[in-house]
Subunit: 225 residues, 2 copies
Amino acid sequence: MAATKANPIVFFDIASKVGPWSPNTWKTRLALIYKRIPYRVEYVSYPDIEPTFKRFGVLPTSDNAPQYTLPMIADPSSDPSKGPTYIANSFKIALYLDDKYPSPDYPTLFPPGTRALQRVFIERVSSLILLMAPTMLPLVGQPGFLDDRGEEYYRRTRQAKFGKSLEQLAEEGHQTWGKVQESWETFGRLLESDTTGPFVMGTRISYADLVLVAAFGWIKRADGW
Amino acid sequence: MAATKANPIVFFDIASKVGPWSPNTWKTRLALIYKRIPYRVEYVSYPDIEPTFKRFGVLPTSDNAPQYTLPMIADPSSDPSKGPTYIANSFKIALYLDDKYPSPDYPTLFPPGTRALQRVFIERVSSLILLMAPTMLPLVGQPGFLDDRGEEYYRRTRQAKFGKSLEQLAEEGHQTWGKVQESWETFGRLLESDTTGPFVMGTRISYADLVLVAAFGWIKRADGW
């Protein structure tokens, strides 16, 4: 029924030379760790992400480019005649894991009734991350960060998407960094509405905390590897 | 200690000819109703809001104009030698009411751990409301909606704030209404993350629901009085 050490969940992460780094895949990695579900990692180079989805028959995660994005998991079936269940998109994976691996056997990511509230919270964090894109994308694309094939693919596709080189994007990032800081400070003040503990939900960890840690880890890794 | 029928909370709402209408004061009215706390209403005409705050020694609710905004409540003290506690700003009032009038004696607005999540949720709803301002403000300012002194004050101060008449603002509203609809649809899809019940938190009512009802009530009142 459930993943075991001998038959773990396969977690697809993005290949790099610096270890796991993506804020989106970190959300899933942290969810698996927090829920103590056995998993093994398969690293996929950027140009291989779309073929990997297609090989497993998994639908695109977005209508817009990039259409195929990690994280993805393969949850093994207990029936040997059946293949694993594939889930892509970090939020869908988190919901799936909480449904399939519920409390009290596994720690809960979404305390009862908080799924919609946390979904709105995640969108808010995503808007903060989007504002950092001009600064962060050039750091991910810098030489020696991704694997060689990934680096070439990343620089080429991002240049096409933004209509400018990553170096030109970085210049934009310098100019907008003040806004980034301001927007995080505003967000921080909203979180101060709860004074009962260190976590978003006060004294208990929830998926919202993992989303923040994933974002902070990304900044740290990209800036200081 | 607590407000009673004989010594109720005084709830300051905005005067009008059409009954209570403001989305912000409705949040507090609904919170008082939901928590079943005895209250009586005092209606204040727009030009009298600032003098009312000053008379009671209550600090402004905002650094920017309008600096003094309703709702405000006066929670009576059980000590006859002491004056009531004044609280302004709908979210601060809601937190105060949940702290001062806690469960199990009174229904809870913020289930444990959800204050920060709900704060982020409310900011999201506020951004939806802001997008509707060009449509809604002219409806509030239309003849016969507010009391006469309030109407004159409202039209004059809003014209100064936006640098255009309410009629010109309404024209802008016609052009942006498509965006309003789109933004509510996007928001609705986020709420579908919870499928366990009709409320934002699934099977239980929370402050988030009252905030939505207050917004919908405003639209209905301003459009169809």
